[in-house]
């Protein structure tokens, strides 16, 4: 069976010849018609549409967007803020950048609709520090939109006004954690806040109720208002509605970004058909399906169990290739859809070195606020780096796993899981390679010098 066709909604115009990121082009393609529709309706209706759509957040956790909006404290009398999380930093993920670079007005329209629906008067786009070009593009686009009456006071003659500010990030992965982001936006070190009591929906930016949404999520909001929540919920699969951008990197013939209805394509179809399969003469070894913090899958392993389809419990028996790319199925097999970054490794990969690479990233990015993550991430990095550099011990695998087990679930923010899941899963799936590593290092030939 051939792989289903892409369904490009968010990426409709990405890489389209002749499509530019200015307002005129956006308007030619029907831009801001959804905002016009939105401001003609009641805000509560818009929130209902989003709830009906079943939209789940595209930033990583997959939290239902409508529920998130429903948690916002609207009785406090304080202003409500929208913070757009454009701090796209998860290794393997490169979707928001394309939206910002090539179709910024789509994002701005999504922001304005969200602000109108939630009575937000000020929105902040917190854009990753390493995206200076993206920040410039957004500034320009916001200026255009303001001149066009889509942003600023008295939008489209409705009397409703909302400003959008672009804030460049502080150059750290943790700035993408929503409460760390809020701290950073307030001008402080991005130390994630403890929850309770600092739930953004109640005590967020400047201790006011705050909605933090991912770039892609807000673009989906635009589509939902355009076609209606009911119609949107029919895209994708139940509880995994809409489309999703999958960013494939690593050892495949055609890496890149692909937009599919959620759950309508399997991992095997994506890698073998859409991405052209492994490189010549190679076989797939492992895949991380949702950004580097998601748990790794090993080709050849089987997943068995029962899952609910409609009202029925149905047996499933999947290889890695058979897993549908949706939030629930990936969670069922012990990993996650995360931010949509699919990282593929073939049989040329030294799995210990791969983990050492990931561990180095997380040790460098740990904010250092709470003990388990701060000390554990660096310890794991030191162990795996030592293994790669020739002083591996047979007990190191077990030690790595034990260190990771002391982190997950005990930290202030989800970084604890993000930095320990790779180690836990690499050890669970490739424990044999870790055990054999000291011996294999002794007999291994020096790695070939790559030709320029």
């Amino acid at each position: 069976m051939p792989a289903p066709a892409q369904r490009r909604i968010i990426f409709q115009h990405i890489d389209e010849p002749g499509y530019t990121n200015d307002l005129a082009c956006y308007l030619r393609h029907g831009g801001y018609s959804s905002l016009r529709k939105a401001v003609a309706r009641k805000p509560e209706e818009l929130i209902d549409e989003v709830k009906k759509s079943g939209l789940r957040g595209r930033g990583g956790a997959g939290f239902p967007c409508g529920v998130k909006w429903g948690l916002v404290d609207r009785k406090s009398g304080k202003p409500i803020y929208l913070v757009v999380n454009a701090d796209e930093s998860e290794p393997g993920t490169f979707k928001d950048r394309y939206i910002i670079h090539q179709d910024p007005h789509q994002l701005i329209e999504g922001i304005m609709i969200t602000c109108f629906a939630n009575n937000v008067k000020q929105a902040y786009i917190y854009i990753r520090g390493e995206f200076p070009e993206g920040a410039r593009i957004l500034e320009k686009a916001i200026a255009e939109a303001r001149a066009g009456g889509f942003v600023g006071p008295n939008i489209l003659g409705t009397g409703y006004g909302c400003e959008i500010y672009v804030h460049r990030g502080a150059g750290a992965y943790i700035c993408g954690e929503e409460t760390g982001l809020i701290e950073s936006l307030e001008g402080k070190r991005p130390y994630p806040r403890i929850k309770p009591p600092y739930f953004p929906a109640v005590l967020g930016l400047y201790q006011c109720p705050t909605i933090v949404n991912n770039v892609e999520t807000l673009c989906h909001v635009k589509t939902i208002v355009d076609i209606g929540g009911e119609a949107y919920s029919k895209i994708g699969t139940p509880n995994n509605t809409g489309t999703r951008i999958l960013c494939v990197s690593g050892h495949v013939q055609r890496p890149g970004y692909y937009e599919y209805e959620v759950g309508k394509i399997t991992l095997g179809e994506l890698l073998n058909e859409v991405c052209g399969g492994p490189l010549p003469g190679r076989r797939f070894k492992a895949v991380i399906p949702g950004g580097s913090s998601a748990k790794i899958l090993r080709f050849g392993e089987r997943f068995k169990g029962k899952r609910k389809i409609g009202n029925d419990l149905v047996d499933y028996d999947w290889g890695v290739e058979d897993v549908p790319m949706d939030f629930d199925c990936l969670a069922m097999i012990g990993t996650m859809g995360g931010s949509g970054g699919v990282i593929v490794m073939d049989d040329s990969v030294d799995i210990v070195a791969a983990l050492a690479n990931i561990n180095e990233f997380y040790a460098h990015e740990s904010c250092g606020q709470c003990t388990p993550c701060r000390e554990g991430s660096l310890w794991m990095k030191k162990i795996s780096a030592r293994m790669v550099h020739g002083e591996a011990r047979t007990e190191d695998g077990a030690l790595l796993k034990s260190v990771a087990d002391q982190i997950a679930g005990r930290t202030i923010c989800a970084f604890g899981e993000a930095c320990s899941w790779p180690t836990q899963s690499f050890l669970a799936k490739f424990g044999d390679e870790f055990k054999a590593y000291p011996e294999s290092r002794k007999s291994a030939a020096a790695p070939a010098v790559p030709l320029a």
């Binding site: 403890i194 250092g368 709470c370 388990p372 701060r374 162990i383 034990s402 679930g409």
Partner: protein
């Protein structure tokens, strides 16, 4: 004084023990009440909660209720309401008591959590306890023993950080020992109102430092040393001087102002090594000013007065002088003397039929723990009846009396008359009997100089700005040639022809309880460690100089509010 608002009590269950605590009490404090230790580093009862050390992880559960009917769900096995336990451990410091809250601290999961955090905290810690000043009072040592595994699995290189950073004139930082709990940062920001500390770099390489161009030099900087749970922040004064387990602790008071911060004096074999604050939630919480910590230097100062003669010989000379010009004496008391000494000073003035004066010491207050009245015990002088109005800045009235020849003899109980405003010429016209501890113009010019004891060498009480009577106790013995103030005053009273007064603390308290209305029925031993607030209504109209400070709003501010 305002009485604390009545708070709602809620019943929580900690390790099977039920206890009612005020709503909002956190789990660490609630557990303390039932004798359960929840180990922690970053949490401090007087600072904001950040929850970063993760040492206080506990299991938390709430009674199960049916979501539809809200009826309790009964566990058939026990016949009691089922508890829904949260699978992930929660931090005790940020978990507040709510009705029915259940906490478990002794489960395998929590044991594992604590062992994990302890191991993490120690892997990059230098483990240099043998040369560390904190050893003996180090939370890392204590909790490593109590909750750690006792061995290390760490074979990598430890992180290297700065070893001896001078954060300011009084605080030295060893960054390698720092466990990044941020107590010092929060203290500087929240209590000292001097936001100078912060972390740079990130992850395990995070390093405590001052903001560029700034120093930790505010008058509260040493509190960061007190609250540092490890040996990272050390007092430059105390560093490498003494192992803490050799030191004796004596409860005392900070006598630099009328705040009366509660302190502990740490001494060994008659030598004082440091002063630290003692918790009193009504006065100074857990803080004190740096300036108050240096007062012990007066004990062994170069300028310390000691007598070569016996007390009997000194008193004989004093008696001769007092007999020489009867009716022409004046007594200068001190707001730095204890309540007991002020009472005896009053008795001396009465025996001499002489007027009593008090020297005022005022400066600006800092709004925290140093008040505008730099005398610690002016209110004691009011309570004991030594004076009946607030002292004037200078002894102008006494100077005039001297110039007129109405005063020929001045007995000064601890006050330097020159510093208090008398001129050298005026001083030359009178015979001075000086009781005191330090060399000064009065001691040089004094006809009789009787060396007495510092506050660290005797026991007594003082009345602070809240009219709170507080005790201080003798930490070390006085030097040879310095005499107990009460004994000296009792003998002077006799020499002046007064009726015999007791010369020891208990005896004087017998007189105080009988003779001083505000102290009726009290005794030295009966004063609680946190002090007792006296009835201040007789002095309510006096224009006290203190402004607002921690736990004190002056009566006029309350009235204006």
């Amino acid at each position: 004084m305002t009485s604390p608002a009545k708070t709602e009590l809620v019943t929580v269950n900690i390790d099977g023990k039920e206890i009612a605590v005020p709503k909002g009490t956190n789990v660490i404090e609630a557990a303390r009440l039932v004798g359960v230790d929840v180990p922690h580093y970053c949490y401090h009862p007087k600072l904001s909660v950040v929850g970063n050390c993760r040492m206080c992880l506990v299991e938390m559960g709430m009674p199960a209720v049916d979501p539809a009917t809200k009826a309790p769900v009964i566990d058939p096995a026990t016949g009691r309401q089922k508890i829904n336990w949260i699978p992930r451990p929660q931090i005790g410091c940020a978990t507040n008591a709510s009705p029915g809250l259940h906490i478990r601290t002794q489960t395998p999961q929590i044991k594992d959590c604590r062992e994990g955090v302890m191991e993490f905290l120690l892997i990059n810690h230098p483990l240099d306890c043998p040369i560390c000043d904190q050893a003996g009072e180090c939370k890392l040592q204590e909790q490593s023993t109590g909750y750690g595994r006792g061995y290390s699995r760490f074979v990598e290189q430890k992180n290297v950080k700065p070893k001896r950073t001078q954060l300011g004139p009084r605080v030295t930082l060893d960054d390698e020992r720092c466990i990044l709990c941020s107590r010092c940062i929060r203290f500087s920001k929240e209590i000292a109102k001097d936001d100078v500390l912060g972390f740079i770099d990130r992850g395990s390489y995070s390093t405590l430092t001052c903001y560029p161009g700034r120093k930790l030099e505010n008058n509260y900087s040493l509190n960061t040393v007190d609250i540092c749970p490890v040996g990272a922040l050390t007092s430059t004064d105390f560093r490498f001087k003494m192992r803490v387990w050799f030191l004796k602790q004596t409860n005392s008071l900070d006598t630099e102002s009328s705040v009366g911060a509660n302190t502990v004096v740490w001494s060994r074999e008659g030598v004082i090594y440091r002063i630290t604050p003692r918790r009193n939630d009504e006065v100074n919480d857990t803080w004190m000013a740096d300036s108050g910590r240096l007062l012990y230097k007066a004990v062994r100062a170069e300028s310390r007065l000691v007598a070569k003669d016996s007390l009997a010989a000194l008193l004989a000379r004093a008696e001769t002088i007092l007999r020489l010009s009867p009716g022409l004496a004046a007594v200068v008391g001190s707001g730095q003397s204890s309540v007991e000494e002020q009472f005896m000073t009053r008795q001396l003035a009465r025996a001499l039929k002489a007027p009593a004066y008090l020297v005022s010491r005022t400066d600006s207050g800092d709004g925290i723990l140093v008040s505008a009245d730099r005398n610690p015990n002016v209110r004691g002088a009011l309570v004991t009846g030594l004076i009946d109005a607030l002292p004037q800045s200078y002894l102008d009235e006494l100077g005039t009396a001297i110039d007129r020849g109405e005063v020929r003899t001045v007995v000064s109980v601890g006050e330097d008359l020159m510093a208090a405003g008398l001129s050298a010429a005026q001083l030359a016209k009178v015979s001075v009997i000086y009781l005191g501890t330090q060399v000064c113009a009065s001691s040089v010019a004094g006809a009789v100089v009787i060396p007495t004891l510092t506050v660290f060498e005797k026991s007594g009480t003082m009345v602070n700005q809240q009219f709170r009577l507080q005790r201080f106790a003798k930490a070390v013995a006085g030097p040879v040639g310095a005499f107990d103030d009460l004994d000296v005053l009792a003998r002077l009273i006799t020499a002046a022809g007064g009726s015999a007064e007791p010369s020891d603390l208990a005896g004087v308290w017998g007189r105080l309880a009988a003779d001083v209305p505000a102290l009726r029925g009290l005794s030295y031993a009966a004063v609680p460690e946190t002090g007792v607030v006296l009835d201040s209504s007789p002095w309510a109209a006096l224009p006290f100089v203190e402004g607002e400070s921690l736990h004190h709003r002056p009566a006029r501010a309350v009235a204006n509010a």
